[in-house]
Structures are given as C-alpha cells and as structure tokens.
C-alpha cells in the first residue's frame, strides 16, 4: 500500500475516502439538482480554502484578499461565456451587435482589446491561471521582498480587494459594473443552464477539486511544505539556512491565488454569473472564516468548512436573514478562542482517538498493522 504509507497517512486516507464518497456518491444520490447546484457553489469556496491552508495555515501568510483572485478567475471565465452569449444573432437588437449587452448600454461601439483573447477557450483557461497568478506574483514580490508581512500584509490585501471592487463597479462599460456579468448561456455551444448540464458541471468541479487536493497534498509533503512550516516559526533561521524566504512566500501566495481563481471560474460556470459582490472585502473575509472553521492546517478541513458554513448560511438566511452575519461573527470568535484548529482539530483531538480505540478493541490485528509505523494512541488490544 504505497498510498497508505507515503502519500496519505491513515487518518488522511480515511478523510479522503469519506470526502470522495460524500461528494461523488452520497450527495448526488440524495439531493435534487437545485440543492446539488448549491453544493457546487459552496465547493467553489473550498478551492479558496485549500489555497489558504497552504498559504495561511502552513506558510503563516494571512491574506484577507482572496476574493480578488476568486474574482479574477471568475471574471475570466465569465468573459468567455459572455462573449459566446453575445453572438451577432443573439444581440441583433443592439445598436452594435456582437458585443456584450452592458457595453452597448454604455455607448461602447467595439469590443475592447483586452476582451479579444476571451474568444478562445484555450486562452481563457490560460488566463484563469495566469492573470491571478501574475497579479499575486506582483503583489507578493512588492510586499515580501520588502519584508512586509503579518498584519500589514493582511491589511494591504484588504485594500487591494477594495480597490478591485471599486474598479469593477466604476468601469461599467468594460466589466458590467455592479450587476456583474449575467445571462451566461453556453460553453462552446453546450448549454450550461439545464439540469443535466448542472449535474455534469458538478461532477467536473468535484474532479477538479480532488485534483487540487492532491496537488496541495503533494506540495505539503515536499521539502517546500516543511520549509513553509519552518518559515512560519523561525523566519530568520530559514534565511540563515540559505533560503530566500521571500521567494517561498511568493510561491505560497501565488499557489493560493491560483487555487482561488479555479474556484472563481467554477463559480461562474456553476452559478451562471459573476459580480463584484464576490470580490470585495466581506467575501474575502468570509473565505478566511470557512477555512478557519474547517481547520487551517487541514486540506480536507478547508473543504468541510466551506461546505458546512455555507449550508448553515443558507439554512439560517432562509429562515432568519438578519441573524446570519451575527452567526458568522460568533462562529469565527468561537473558533479562534476555543478551537484554533477548527473542525479538523476537534476531529483529531476528540473523535479520532475514540474511533481508534473502538477499532483496536474490535479488530486487534488490522489495527496493529496500522499503528505499526506511528506511535499512535497505544490503546491495549484487550
């Protein structure tokens, strides 16, 4: 069992299998398409969460502006979909047919240059990765090379989120303004709106999510993953062991940005629109809260956090719309004060040992084989 002993340890393997069973089997079988589509929407934040686990949990770099990258990825995808929806036949009532409707409303008569690449799906996919990646590279280089970190960095990412929102809202003719990009219809001629398409997109997203989980786990297990942890504790020691701390921070920040952007692109596809309300300060902070609730040191925790907090959000805001923000705030305070490692910490501290004991008691032999390598809990077999 190479996977068991190397890539995932036992509890991670259980987490992986449980999550795969939930997302691939249980939820699609038990939920109607509307609810499944909601789950798809929640899971787009799980991509952001995985990035935050690497960047914040491991690297200690708190970014309160992940909405920026979520938004950039989402807008790249939405621009492609919007262009396809704005074909000449679809828009023949406009004064300039063939450009998106909001441009026509704003007296723009030709497609701006920066929109041109989004005619091509290949270039769009590249842009989803490269635009946020390069943007993170620029911010990261500017900040980390100057040794700006901690709270200052978090505040600057907030400022960037605010600036980008203002820019998108202000440049209505180019971005769709406060309404965002709506009425997205087809992907390469394939209608993304009907139920069967939503189910397909859900599965596509879950596949991508597992791809990202595996990539994040791979990074975590390399020496780079250990350097991130080392950096969080003793930045100077890493520096005086011959590493450029700034470069490692930039890498972690860029990876987090790219994960967030993939989430954003999936959001545009699954939800069918993109707007500045997913870019700004408040959504960025909410994304951090999902990760904190799930456990910032756990890749699976981030996925569970995004799912559960959003389920609670939908449930609460359906019945008590006013209460949700207080609920979210209270949840964050509770997690920070009582459970700094979130749900995954609670799992590892309270649930896992009980399961271990139960398994050891009932099936002594396999339990012994599992605990071979590690110290484990040492519960007696009899």
């Amino acid at each position: 069992m190479i996977i068991n002993s190397r890539f995932f340890n036992r509890s991670e393997l259980i987490g992986f299998v449980a999550l795969a069973a939930l997302l691939f089997v249980i939820l699609p079988l038990s939920l109607d398409v509307f609810r499944l589509n909601l789950v798809a929407k929640y899971l787009t934040y799980a991509f952001v969460g995985i990035g935050l686990v690497l960047c914040w949990g491991y690297g200690g770099i708190l970014s309160l502006g992940q909405g920026v990258f979520f938004g950039l990825g989402g807008y790249c995808m939405a621009m492609f979909l919007k262009l396809e929806a704005s074909s000449v036949e679809n828009t023949k009532i406009q004064s300039t047919p063939g450009i998106p409707d909001f441009m026509d409303w704003n007296q723009i008569t030709s497609l701006p240059l920066f929109w041109q690449p989004f005619h091509s799906l290949t270039l769009t996919i590249l842009a989803i990765i490269l635009v946020p990646g390069l943007f993170a590279l620029i911010i990261g280089t500017a900040m980390f090379k100057r040794r700006v970190g901690g709270t200052y960095f978090a505040i600057i990412t907030q400022a960037v989120a605010a600036i980008l929102t203002i820019l998108i809202v202000g440049q209505q003719g180019y971005t769709g303004g406060i309404n965002g990009m709506t009425d997205l219809r087809t992907l390469k001629g394939w209608d993304i709106r009907p139920d069967h398409a939503k189910v397909m997109l859900y599965f596509f997203e879950v596949f991508l999510l597992f791809g990202c989980i595996l990539l994040a786990q791979f990074i975590r297990l390399t020496k780079l993953g250990r350097i991130l942890v080392a950096m969080r504790e003793q930045e100077d020691r890493v520096r005086f062991s011959g590493y450029s701390v700034a470069n490692f921070k930039i890498f972690a920040f860029c990876m987090a940005a790219i994960f967030a952007a993939i989430g954003g692109a999936m959001f545009a596809l699954n939800v069918g629109f993109m707007s500045p309300s997913f870019v700004g300060i408040v959504p960025s902070i909410e994304m951090v809260i999902y990760t904190a609730v799930g456990g910032r040191m756990s890749i699976f925790g981030a996925v569970w956090g995004s799912l559960l907090v959003n389920v609670a959000k939908t449930g609460l805001s359906e019945s008590f719309p006013q209460l949700w923000l207080f609920g979210l705030g209270g949840l964050f305070i509770a997690v920070v004060l009582a459970f700094p490692n979130g749900l995954s910490g609670i799992w590892a501290d309270y649930v896992q040992p009980r399961i271990d004991r139960l398994l050891t008691w009932r099936k002594p032999k396999p339990a012994k084989a599992w605990t071979d390598g590690s110290v484990a809990d040492g519960a007696p077999a009899e």
Partner: protein, 251 residues
C-alpha cells in the same frame, strides 16, 4: 578601497566597519582579520557590540559603512541567504530551531541542496541526505531522537540541534553566539567536546563569556568595548592588558 593591501590568506577581512542606530554607533570603525582554520573568540562587556558584529557579517544588520570581505567577496552587498551560500554559518544566542518539525526534518532543511523554490519541490530524501543527517545527529548526541519534534527537546538539546543544522551546511566560517549559555554543567562539558570536534578544518568566530571555555579553544581573542577593539591577541596577552583588566576582566 583597502582590498589591494590585504594578503590573500585571510578568510574574513573586516575593515572600517561602522553601524549606527539613530546616531548611536554600536560598532565603530572596526577592523579585524580571521585566517583559515583560526578559532577567534570575541569577548567584551554587555553592549560592547559583539552580537552586532555577527549580525553584520551574516547580513542580519546592514552596515552603515565599511567592508566585510569573505574569500574576496564583499558580504555587505549580499542578501542573508547568499551569504550562507558563500559558506558563512550563524548560530543565534537563543536556540532557533523549527519546533513543529522533527529533528530529522530540522537537519534535512539545513542540508545544502534544493534551496530554491523549485529545487525544494523536486528535493528527494535519498540515501546521501539520510546518511548525512544520521551522521550529524550522532555528533550532536541526538541520534535516537530523530523522530522527536524539536518542541520536546530540552534547552541544551535545542542548542545542539541548531549547531547540527549549521554543521550540515558545512560552512567555512562558523559563527557561534554564546553556545554554552544556559546549559547545565554536564551539557556544557558535552558541548565543549562537540565544539572541539567540529571546529577542525574551518574557521570559527565565537562570542562567549565563559573564560575557561575561551581559554580552552581560542587561538586569538578580540576584546570589544563600546563598538571598538580594546585589545587583540592571544589569551595570555589579552589577560595581561591593563585596559582589558580595567573595563572587563577586573570586574
């Protein structure tokens, strides 16, 4: 500047080094030279600028003026990690190890390979790494603690681990800031034994207050006082220097 005047055999040449913090000159027009395989001890009263000198050499603090040449390369213009890569290792006064990583992982991070972002992604824990880590772990008395998290080590063991992390870098110049401070008597003896073993084949710059320890290891002693050199020479010479007795040893 003065580079042309210096003979080549100096490993480290510090010349006219000055650093001022808001007008206060912590190190003032300091010059000294360390040869290959020399053990140099820096002593001096508190606030003499000893730690600052090490900070300047390893790049933690930027010099206001002056030059630090290591094997002919100017260190004052380099970044910390580049200085490490030219062969300068630094141990801090308080043990700075990675407490959330195991002893093995701590040593592995210091192994001089795969130090770039993508290098560290591709880094493989192969036999060469494992052997070297085990070899160093044995030297620093932590061979049977390889899987222990550094958090669980005693103060003395953490100091050894940090020395081990330097050792695995195999620096040409090893800088140690009070390596035996805060250690128990038995740990102190073991550390002295360890240091005596690892200083062979490289130059060492040590800050230490323990006079017996200094006498044991020093080839040459530099006495700092208020950022300047008060006296320099063999331990015998320094001990009998009236200026030194007045400001330091006499107290």
């Amino acid at each position: 500047m003065l580079i042309g005047h210096q003979p080549k055999e100096f490993l480290l040449a510090v010349e006219a080094l000055t650093v001022s913090f808001d007008g206060f000159k912590a190190v003032n027009d300091l010059s000294f030279y360390v040869e290959e395989n020399e053990i140099r001890v820096i002593i001096g009263p508190n606030g003499a600028g000893k730690t600052t000198v090490l900070d300047l050499i390893c790049g933690k603090t930027k010099a206001t003026s002056g030059s630090i040449q290591f094997r002919g390369q100017e260190l004052t213009r380099m970044k910390e990690n580049q200085i490490v890569q030219t062969g300068v290792g630094r141990k801090f006064q308080t043990p700075s190890v990675f407490v959330d990583l195991t002893v093995f992982e701590n040593l592995e991070i210091s192994y001089p390979r795969g130090r770039t972002v993508f290098g560290s992604l591709a880094f493989q824990r192969d036999a060469a790494v494992r052997d070297r880590v085990e070899e160093v772990a044995e030297m620093i008395f932590l061979k049977d603690r390889l899987d222990t998290y550094a958090d669980e080590l005693s103060h003395g063991q953490k100091q050894w681990l940090e020395i081990g992390m330097l050792l695995i870098q195999d620096p040409d110049l090893l800088m140690l800031d009070e390596p035996v401070a805060g250690m128990s008597v038995s740990e102190r003896a073991k550390t002295a034994e360890l240091l005596n073993r690892i200083i062979k084949g490289r130059s060492v710059l040590v800050i230490e207050h323990d006079m017996k320890f200094v006498e044991d290891i020093a080839h040459k002693v530099t006495v700092l006082h208020q950022g300047r050199i008060l006296s320099e020479g063999t331990m015998e010479h320094v001990k009998n220097d009236p200026k030194v007795i007045e400001v330091y040893l006499g107290h």
